[in-house]
């Protein structure tokens, strides 16, 4: 059977299971049914997508739905096959996790019906081959995820998050709608094939590019359109958070790549600089936010913003290289972006699953109330550690590979033509390096404070290990992270058809390199062998463990942990999350977030405790969004009076407006 038809069958299976889920969602076995079907459907979709990607066979299908003169067109090419694989891999992992995690859900009737619809919506966006189907699927995805964000609607914070998300999603879709309207032109031909062929004014293309950046960027979490993301992603149940952060942002990246690399044609010269600057800024801003954050899931959401910044910077680099006709370098940058898309979907899902397990076990997400979980939840801790290493871009895991490729691409920038790019690209490279270093610090903090040390609360001290489905989901993702990190050549080769489609070039074939090493451009420049590094790490670690056990004194010696000459038993004396973040807060936070610390020290003799109060301001939210919201509110208040005029006033208004229009017409022509 044709790949497109099979995937549409998968989508209809997902939609079909949502219908009984509405009625049966309160039954105890409903979760097993929904997540089981979703898991099977996602695995089938993953298989089809991988087969389509590796075999390079595109296929098309038109269904008689939607706009009558277009129908609903679906198509799989290399790009959509890759993103379908990412979506379904994330979907399969989340469904497997949901099999266990869903049992702890207090409101299953608000989660189960929307979950498969959300998966189906994301698949449809990637499958769509005309603007109408794309936008309808996009809204489908947005609304389903909005309903999932609102699942625990009794908490006021979640309601506010859902409101902000709905506004931003509507805004983003409007921008995409206008972008497609511009691309389709006055002829109104909404099929992607016609849009691709069309010849249009450069100004129109540039405007469409900016609108696509606003529309897809707001969904992906590109600063300054990211404000909804750290609110909405953590508000959903954890496996949905994983999907939103790990997969839905990738669907947004897909939308942007599809429009800018495929449909628009040759974009304006400044678009690459715009993308690079936005990407670099987003990466640094996102990870700084993550460093200040105490809430584990919000931290992960902010880190998603950082990774999206890296992806967009790589995309900008690919655009710059393509515009200069350097196909090999463009292929390198695009491979880095797509590889990072895959990697981020893997480790961000893994980390959100870990955060969900912690949330289930302790009932909280505040890191200051966790600690010592490695003793109670050893397997979760191990997998969370694997995800943390991967997201910190350390070998031998996969995060290193994509960031290394990104820096390899950045190092090619001196060969670019324009002076603007020659100056901007190294600066962005510096920002990405800073973001990578801060990410490592951020995840040392996240893992160390949550899992190491001693429990800070009784809840953390009595935590229980996650169920076997959750552990299986986390374990398989951790293994995939390791596999992609040690055998990156296969992934790079699989991405070759995508880069050939979009930038007309590909990285050199990696499969025939000896010893499975990867070579981005040529041996003389640089190469990396993940397997060798992994083998070295394993070997040296085993040797040192062996040496330590053999050569060290075998006498057992017990000493208090974290006892720096201050033998107080309280868990509150440990290094806290706030304390860990303090150096970063002092260096970056005072300028970026206007962070102010205030110590209230009572005079001697006063029995009150000393207090440290901390104020952090989000510059984007307070300088851009709040004034905008206030302006809209004031304007709405003014216009509200128009609702209560007399009939004759309305008539007079209509009359005066008509006369004014006629006057304009008379004076203008």
């Amino acid at each position: 059977m044709q790949a497109t038809a099979t995937l549409l069958t998968v989508v209809s299976a997902l939609l079909a299971v949502a219908v009984p889920a509405v009625a049966l969602s309160r039954r105890p076995w409903a979760g097993t049914l929904v997540y089981g079907v979703s898991l099977a459907a996602s695995l089938a979709g993953l298989g089809v997508a991988l087969a389509a990607l590796l075999a390079g066979a595109g296929s098309e299908l038109t269904l008689p739905l939607g706009l009558p003169w277009i129908g609903a067109r679906f198509r799989i090419d290399a790009l959509s096959a890759f993103f379908l694989a990412v979506v379904n891999l994330g979907g399969a992992a989340a469904s497997l996790y949901g099999l266990g995690y869903g049992r702890h859900e207090e409101a299953p009737h608000r989660v189960l019906p929307f979950y498969p619809v959300f998966l189906a919506g994301m698949n449809l966006v990637v499958l769509a081959d005309d603007a109408f189907t794309f936008l309808v699927s996009w809204e489908f995805m947005s609304l389903a995820s909005w309903a999932l964000v609102l699942a625990h609607h009794r908490e006021a914070a979640n309601r506010q998050a859902a409101t902000v998300y709905l506004v931003m999603a509507g805004f983003g879709t409007m921008a995409l709608l206008l972008a497609f309207g511009l691309l389709a032109g006055t002829g109104g031909e909404y099929g992607f094939s016609a849009i691709r062929e069309a010849v249009r004014d450069p100004a129109v293309s540039s405007l469409a590019l900016v609108l696509a950046l606003v529309g897809a960027g707001s969904k992906a979490g590109l600063a300054p359109l990211h404000v909804w993301l750290p609110l909405a992603h953590p508000a959903a149940p954890s496996h949905v958070s994983a999907l939103m952060s790990g997969v839905m942002t990738k669907v947004a990246v897909y939308g942007f790549v599809r429009i800018v690399f495929d449909l628009i044609g040759e974009p304006a010269w400044w678009s690459a600089i715009l993308l690079l600057a936005l990407g670099g800024g987003t990466a640094v801003l996102g990870i700084l936010h993550a460093l200040m954050e105490r809430d584990l899931k919000r931290l992960l959401a902010y880190s998603t913003i950082e990774n999206i910044g890296i992806v967009f910077a790589c995309l900008g680099l690919a655009l710059a290289f393509r515009a200069d006709g350097m196909g090999w370098a463009a292929a390198l940058a695009l491979t880095a972006a797509l590889f990072h898309v895959l990697n981020h979907s893997l480790f961000k899902s893994l980390l959100f699953f870990g955060a969900g397990a912690v949330l289930t076990a302790t009932g909280g997400r505040d890191m200051e109330r966790l600690g010592g979980l490695i003793h109670r939840m050893p397997a979760t801790a191990l997998f969370f550690l694997a995800g943390s290493i991967a997201i910190s871009a350390l070998p031998p895991f996969n995060g290193f590979i994509s960031e290394w490729l990104a820096f390899q691409a950045i190092l090619q920038s001196p060969e670019l033509g324009g002076w603007g790019l020659k100056i901007v690209v190294p600066a962005v490279g510096g920002m990405l390096a800073l973001a990578a270093a801060l990410a490592a610090a951020c995840f040392v903090r996240a893992f160390g404070v949550s899992f190491l040390g001693r429990p800070r609360t009784p809840e953390a001290g009595t935590a229980r290990e996650a169920d076997r489905f959750s552990l299986a989901a986390m374990g398989s993702l951790a293994l995939l992270c390791l596999a992609a990190g040690t055998l990156p050549g296969f992934v790079i080769d699989a991405l070759a058809p995508v880069t050939r489609l979009l930038v007309g070039g590909a990285m050199p074939l990696q499969a025939d390199r000896p010893w499975l090493s990867i070579v981005p451009i040529a041996e003389s420049r640089s190469s990396y062998n993940g397997l060798l590094v992994f083998a070295f790490i394993v070997l040296s670690a085993s040797l040192s463990a062996f040496a330590v056990h053999r050569l060290a004194s075998s006498r057992l010696r017990r000493a208090p942990a974290w006892d720096c000459g201050f033998p107080v038993a309280g868990a509150a004396t440990q290094y806290s999350a706030g304390g860990f973040a303090q150096p970063f807060r002092r260096i970056f936070g005072t300028t970026v977030f206007a962070a102010r610390e205030e110590v209230t020290m009572p005079p001697p003799g006063d029995m009150r405790p000393a207090r440290l109060s901390l104020a952090i301001h989000d510059p984007v939210w307070e300088r851009a969004y709040l004034p905008l919201a206030r302006a809209v509110d004031a304007l709405a208040g003014r216009l509200n009076r128009l609702q209560f005029l007399t009939i004759r006033r309305y008539l007079t208004l209509v009359f005066l407006f008509l006369v004014a229009l006629l006057l304009v017409l008379a004076l203008w022509t």
């Binding site: 009939i647 004759r648 009359f655 006369v659 006629l662 006057l663 017409l665 008379a666």
Partner: protein, 221 residues
């Protein structure tokens, strides 16, 4: 075919319609207003019939007949009956003075001439003049609606506005008959609905002065 004479006659009839619109503006008695409206419809009917002859379009005769039958006879008679049944023979107050209203009307006519002659410079002169007159009639109808407080006055304003639309439609060649008929009948339906609403207003508030509606909504003026 458009000869000089047929053009002049069409021009005269359309101009007559504008003139009757001005007459509507300064009527301050309801019966007078309705009679003037009947005259308005009569001139419209003659104008459309002349267009039918000049364009050689027999279906326009149907439009003219519909205008004559409904707008010049049925609706004015029904309006007279309504007024008798409502028992309102008193003066209508204008919101602004008659002089000011007439001056505004002249300004509107000038405006519609300027607009139409400019934007339709290369159109058929017969259609162009017709359109300019029709726009003037529409604007005067709106002005009538704005300056009257009495609901009957607003109904008449609306009807005269619609006459302007019919004049514009008759001037445009190739307007399908079905469109004209449906417009004519929609006006009739609107008239019926408005009539019913009038009686409902009257039942509830003992007046057809629309100020009562505003008072009912608790509005300031």
């Amino acid at each position: 075919m458009v000869t000089a004479l047929s053009f002049d006659i069409a021009h005269m009839l359309a101009g007559g319609l504008v003139l009757v619109s001005f007459m509507l503006l300064y009527q301050d008695r309801l019966h007078g207003l309705i009679n003037t409206y009947a005259l308005h419809a009569l001139v419209l009917s003659a104008s459309v019939a002349w267009q039918a002859w000049a364009q050689g379009a027999p279906h326009l005769y149907v439009t003219a007949a519909v205008a004559l039958l409904f707008k010049a006879l049925v609706i004015p008679l029904a309006l007279h009956r309504i007024i008798r049944r409502l028992g309102i023979h008193r003066d209508i107050e204008n919101v602004v003075g008659i002089g000011l209203t007439m001056l505004t009307g002249m300004g509107l006519v000038a405006l519609s001439m300027v607009v139409m002659l400019r934007i339709a410079a290369d159109a058929d002169p017969l259609a162009r003049e017709d359109l300019a007159m029709a726009l003037a009639v529409v604007l005067l109808g709106l002005l009538l609606m704005v300056t009257r407080r009495n609901a009957i006055g607003q109904v008449v304003g609306f009807m005269s506005l619609e006459n302007g639309l019919v004049l514009a439609a008759a001037g445009a060649r190739g307007m399908p008959l079905v469109v004209e008929i449906s417009v004519a009948f929609s006006v009739l339906v609107a008239f019926i609905v408005i009539g019913i609403v009038l009686f409902r207003i009257r039942e509830r508030f003992d007046t057809v002065d629309i100020r009562a509606l505003d008072d009912f909504r608790g509005e300031r003026r």
